[in-house]
Structures are given as structure tokens and as C-alpha cells.
């Protein structure tokens, strides 16, 4: 009991004796009684068996029981099960004449709720000085405990934060400084608390503080303000600031809390990213430019190549024509008088020159197909093929038999290209046939996966499966026997023509029983 000394038993009677109450105009017993009764603390007395003797209003407030409910009941009803042993210890000390001061423990209210209490228990003695009971003052410290726990928790949060958390007064003087602040700025709390916050600002940013303080005084908050601060070692760091006013008990602004986040890394990443983006854009633009340039030079090279092959072919024609012309002139002018061997040699010259001319013609045709732009329209293949056969004796009876399985489906094609392609296919089929055998060709069409497939099936020599993939390559001659003449360009022209018209070509053959060539073209709608 606050009024008593540690060795003094607390009873109104004792109080009277230990205080000089002379001259006090009211009855001292009533005075204490009122004081006890009106106290906010629970003031209870009990006998040495722990039975409650008195119970004030404060006790009712703290524990929930009325005096009628509590008096005569054991004090243990206020003690949680696991703390019952405390009562034995307390009673032992009381009986020994000792007092228990500010013992913080937990008690249970009538409604079952546990409350934190601070107990002060003193022995009560009778007139003979014998200990007959105990007085007990219990203060409800639940709220205080909660507050202090919260405070500790907040302090722990502040201390463990990676961010710098600083408080300052309205003059910008630093009041508190957490571990994060020490990490970020390099100053210890001891070094910096009491210093003006400007110590952290680079010279060119000192005036920022004036503005920040002005806003804080108006009660405003500053959020995610990105700026630069200086560490103790002088290095500059990028930080993001959030500053809030600290309000005093009367709601007035008394300072500011300041959370600084080190965003140097982030800024560096942003900068690196921006640099990379710029670099990437530059590279991209450069690449596009280079692709455009390369495409241009490639186009130019292709055009040059085509021009070259065209010119060369034309220039080659002239001497070949001369060779043919001179050979013909010899035969015309001196033929009858010539030896048979000489005649044969001259005829060989003529044939070679003819082959050369054909080769040049094919190379020209091939390069023309590659370079020319074509327009496609609906082509009636029945008509086209019949006309084509009429123009070529070698496709007619008795030199060859061509069987058209009419009707052929119309296709989308360029008439001139298609004519050339089919002429070459027929030419190939009638050329590569066993000696003495009449070339027979069958033609039909069938729909094939969004295309029309034209089949040209012959009774010729066939192409071995391992050579079929090369059949449409330029300068590929699959029959080395010189009796089967070819320039090696005919089927390459067929392929190039078909591709140019949006189609394709292929061949099926077992290598013995002729070939079935096919050409796919878009259907005419």
C-alpha cells in the first residue's frame, strides 16, 4: 500500500498511529474508508485462509464480481488454474510478515476474461500485532501492457526495417534514427540525433528541406518523393522519401517521420534498362537499315546476274550461229566433192552447234522465267494442250501418241509459262524412251489438297528413285547415254514455271516402267 512503509502493516488503525493526523477536521476512519471505496484500483482484504473479507468498488470494476458475490468466497476464484501455486507463495510471505510489491501476474474476471494485474499485498495485523489477514491492491494493467507491447513491436519493426526511418522536429532537427538509417546513410544514431537533417542533403538540394517542412507544417504528407541524398562518406545515393507529420497530444504538428528508401539500385537498373533499350533500338534500326541495304544489293546482284546471263547467252549465240553457218556453207558449196568422213565430221560440228544453241535458248528461257513478273488467269488445259500438240510434230502420230483423259480441270496459270512447262514435260517424255518404242503419254487431272494436279505419264526409261529428287535441278542429266540428248534445263524450267505460278512439281517412277510427272497448280474458280 502506497501510504505504508514496507515494514508497516496497513490498517486504518495503524494509519492513524503512523501519521500525524492532529488538526484534521474529519474522522480519519471515514476518510480512509471513502478513499478505499472510491479507488479505481481493486482493494481487497482476506484472511489467512484466503477468504475474501472486504471488496471495494474498484474490485468490482476490475474483476466483475459485486461485494456480495465476492465476500466470504476464496480469493483463489480470481486465480487461473495454472497460477494457483502463486497464492501459496503469497500467503507464505504474508504470514512471514513480508509484503509483496508490484507483482505482475494474470487474474481471471467473473466473465472468464484474463486480465493483467499488478498486485501489492501487505499483511494485516490485529491490535496485538498478530497477522490475521492481508490487504491486496490489484491494478488492472492490461491496457498498459498492451500499449507497451505494441510500442515494443513498433520499435522492433522500425529497428528491423531496411528503410531509413527518421523523425525530426519542426526545425528539421533529427530526433530518432533507426538501424536502416545507419545502413543507408552511414551515420550512427549517436552521431546524428540532434543534428539538422540538412546534413544529409547535397548542397544543391538544401532548399528542398524548406519546402518539405512547409508542407509538413500544413499537415500534408509527402509521398515517394525521389531525390538525392549524401552519405557520411560523401557518396550520393538515390532515395525515395515518404514524410508524414507527427501530431502531438492536441493534434498539432510537432515533427515529421521520414522514411527513406535507397533506390540507387533501382535507379541504376532503370538507367541500365533505358540504356539497353536505346541500344536495342539503335541496333534494331541499324539492323533494319542493313537488311534494307542487303536486300537492295541482293536485288541489284540478282538483276545484274540476270542481265549477265541474258547478255552472255546472247553473245554466245553469235559464234554458235557462225559455226552452224560455216558448216552449212561448206556442205552447200563443197558437199558433193567431200569425202564421206569429212562430211560426217562437219555434220557433227552442226549437231554440236545445234545443241549449243538449244542450251543457250533454254538458259535464256530459265533466266527469263526467274526474272519476269507474270499474271495468272483461268486456263482451259484441254484447249491449251490440244493447240500445243498441233504446233509440235514430235508430239503427233506416228512419232508419239498422247492420250488426253478429258475433261481436264481448268487451272489458274500464266498461259505462256504453262505452255512452255507442258511442252518441256512432253519433250522430256518423248525424248527419253527406249529405242524403237513409240512414246505414249497419258494426261489427266485430279484435285489435290487445294490444287489441281496434272499428271503426265509416259512409257519411257523411267528415273531411279535415288535420282528423282535431282530430276528438276538445273543442268541435271540423269541419262549419261549421249543418244539421249538433253540440255539439263528442260525440267528445271518446268519446276521454275510451276513455282512461279504458285504450284509445284514431282515425279513418280520405279526406274523401269516410265515416269509419272505431276504439276500442281491453283484451281481456277
Amino acid at each position: 500500500m502506497i501510504l505504508g512503509g514496507s515494514e508497516t502493516a496497513a490498517s486504518p488503525e495503524n494509519m492513524k498511529s503512523s501519521f500525524n493526523m492532529e488538526g484534521v477536521p474529519w474522522d480519519i476512519g471515514n476518510y480512509f474508508s471513502a478513499l478505499v471505496q472510491d479507488s479505481d484500483d481493486a482493494i481487497i482484504s482476506k484472511d489467512l485462509h484466503g477468504v475474501i473479507l472486504t471488496w471495494n468498488k474498484g474490485a468490482q470494476q476490475v474483476f466483475g464480481y459485486t461485494a456480495d458475490e465476492a465476500v466470504g468466497k476464496p480469493i483463489r476464484m480470481l486465480i487461473p488454474e495454472e497460477r494457483q501455486s502463486e497464492e501459496n507463495a503469497i500467503l507464505d510471505r504474508i504470514q512471514a510478515g513480508e509484503r509483496v510489491d508490484h507483482f505482475e501476474t494474470v487474474r481471471r474476471r467473473k466473465d472468464g476474461a484474463f486480465i493483467d494485474v499488478s498486485l501489492t499485498i501487505s499483511p494485516i495485523r490485529n491490535a496485538g500485532g498478530q497477522i490475521v489477514g492481508a490487504s491486496k491492491i490489484a491494478r488492472d494493467i492490461t491496457q498498459r501492457k498492451r500499449e507497451s507491447m505494441l510500442q515494443r513491436r513498433f520499435a522492433a519493426i522500425v529497428e528491423s526495417s531496411d528503410d531509413a526511418i527518421i523523425s525530426k522536429d519542426l526545425n528539421g532537427i533529427i530526433q530518432s534514427w533507426n538501424a536502416g538509417a545507419e545502413r543507408i546513410f552511414g551515420y550512427t544514431a549517436a552521431e546524428i540525433v540532434g543534428q539538422p537533417v540538412q546534413i544529409l542533403m547535397p548542397p544543391e538540394r538544401k532548399n528542398e528541406e524548406t519546402e518539405i517542412l512547409a508542407r509538413i507544417r500544413r499537415g500534408e504528407r509527402v509521398e515517394h518523393y525521389e531525390t538525392v541524398r549524401r552519405r557520411k562518406d560523401g557518396t550520393l545515393i538515390d532515395i525515395s522519401l515518404t514524410i508524414s507529420p507527427i501530431l502531438g497530444p492536441f493534434g498539432d504538428v510537432i515533427g515529421a517521420s521520414k522514411i527513406s528508401r535507397d533506390i540507387t539500385e533501382r535507379k541504376r537498373s532503370e538507367l541500365a534498362l533505358a540504356r539497353l533499350t536505346t541500344e536495342l533500338n539503335t541496333l534494331n534500326a541499324d539492323l533494319e537499315k542493313r537488311v534494307a541495304e542487303r536486300t537492295e544489293s541482293l536485288k541489284a546482284a540478282v538483276a545484274q546476274m540476270q542481265e549477265f546471263s541474258y547478255t552472255v547467252s546472247h553473245d554466245l549465240r553469235s559464234p554458235v550461229r557462225s559455226i552452224q553457218g560455216f558448216a552449212t556453207a561448206i556442205l552447200e558449196d563443197y558437199g558433193p566433192s567431200l569425202d564421206a568422213n569429212v562430211r560426217d565430221l562437219i555434220e557433227r560440228i552442226q549437231r554440236s552447234a545445234l545443241r549449243m544453241e538449244k542450251l543457250i535458248q533454254d538458259v535464256l528461257a530459265y533466266s527469263r522465267i526467274s526474272s519476269s513478273k507474270i499474271e495468272c488467269g483461268k486456263v482451259d488445259m484441254d484447249i491449251l494442250i490440244r493447240e500445243l500438240i498441233k504446233e509440235h510434230q514430235e508430239f503427233q502420230k506416228p512419232l508419239a501418241i498422247i492420250d488426253i483423259k478429258s475433261p481436264l480441270r481448268p487451272v489458274l496459270a500464266n498461259e505462256a509459262l504453262l505452255t512452255q512447262a507442258i511442252t518441256n514435260l512432253f519433250g522430256n517424255s518423248v525424248k527419253f524412251v527406249a529405242r524403237g518404242k513409240t512414246p505414249c503419254i497419258e494426261i489427266w487431272t485430279e484435285p489435290q489438297d487445294k490444287r489441281i494436279r496434272l499428271w503426265v505419264k509416259d512409257n519411257g526409261l523411267g528415273i531411279q528413285p535415288e535420282f528423282q529428287s535431282r530430276a528438276f535441278g538445273i543442268f541435271e542429266r540423269l541419262h549419261p547415254d549421249l543418244n539421249y540428248e538433253g540440255t539439263g534445263i528442260g525440267l528445271a524450267i518446268v519446276r521454275r514455271a510451276a513455282e512461279k505460278m504458285g504450284g509445284g512439281v514431282g515425279v513418280v517412277s520405279d526406274g523401269a516402267n516410265g515416269c509419272s510427272f505431276w504439276m500442281d497448280l491453283p484451281p481456277a474458280t
Partner: protein, 137 residues
């Protein structure tokens, strides 16, 4: 009188041979390139003497010539009032349809692929006689 515009020796030989085979002994003058052809037709420089170098009745014009293509010479001939009626045969090594169309569009009377022979020449003379009888003399 025939003007042959030709730079290839062999082609000159074949022309000469074919010409002889026709049996017609028509005078023929040879020029080697486009510039010479234009000089001749203008009567310029070495060709100033019209008595020695008369205006031709027929021109055989090659397309591949040194110092500018035959097509340019053809275009030039057809652009001149005094020359536009001369019978011009383009005599070329190119069987290209494209070249044929261009030559005819530019005003060639005939397009003949080399080499010429006697029969071809006779047909050409006949065609010339038919189209321009007024220039026969």
C-alpha cells in the same frame, strides 16, 4: 542501194554470201556502228559526197552494235522526215519476242533473225518493192 549496219565480220560474210546466191547484184555499203550509220544517212563527215554515198533504198540494221544499240538508230531514223520512209529490216541474232515487238513498234518494216539466206533476202526485196513502189527508182 543497200546499207548494211553490221559489226560482226562473220555476219557480213553470211550476208554477202546470201546476197550473191540471190543472183541480184545490188550495190551494198557497209557501216560498222550506229554512229557511222547516222553519219552516212546525214551525209556527214566522210559520207558528205552523196554521189559516192547515195541515200539507201534498204537498210539492214543489226541490234547489237558498238556505241549504242540498233534500236536507238531505228528510233532516230523514224524521227527524221527525210528518212522515215526508208525500208528498214532489223537483222538480228535475237529471236526474242520482246525484241521483235519493240523493233516493229519503233517502225522497222521487217524483223529477220540471222543468218539470212537467199530465199529470205528475195522475200525481203519483194516486200520492199510492194510497200514502197514509188522508191523503186
Amino acid at each position: 542501194m543497200i546499207l548494211l549496219v553490221e559489226d560482226e565480220e562473220d555476219d557480213v560474210y553470211f550476208m554477202d554470201r546470201a546476197m550473191k546466191k540471190t543472183g541480184a547484184s545490188l550495190p551494198m555499203t557497209l557501216v560498222r556502228n550506229g554512229q557511222e550509220a547516222m553519219d552516212y544517212l546525214k551525209g556527214a563527215g566522210q559520207y558528205a559526197n552523196r554521189a559516192r554515198f547515195p541515200m539507201p533504198d534498204l537498210i539492214f540494221l543489226d541490234l547489237k552494235l558498238p556505241f549504242g544499240p540498233g534500236m536507238d538508230v531505228l528510233r532516230w531514223i523514224r524521227s527524221r522526215e527525210d528518212l522515215k520512209k526508208i525500208f528498214v529490216v532489223v537483222l538480228t541474232g535475237s529471236p526474242e519476242e520482246e525484241d521483235r515487238l519493240q523493233a516493229l513498234q519503233l517502225g522497222a518494216d521487217l524483223y529477220q533473225v540471222k543468218p539470212p539466206n537467199a530465199d529470205v533476202l528475195r522475200q525481203i526485196f519483194a516486200a520492199r518493192a510492194k510497200s514502197r513502189p514509188q522508191r523503186q527508182d
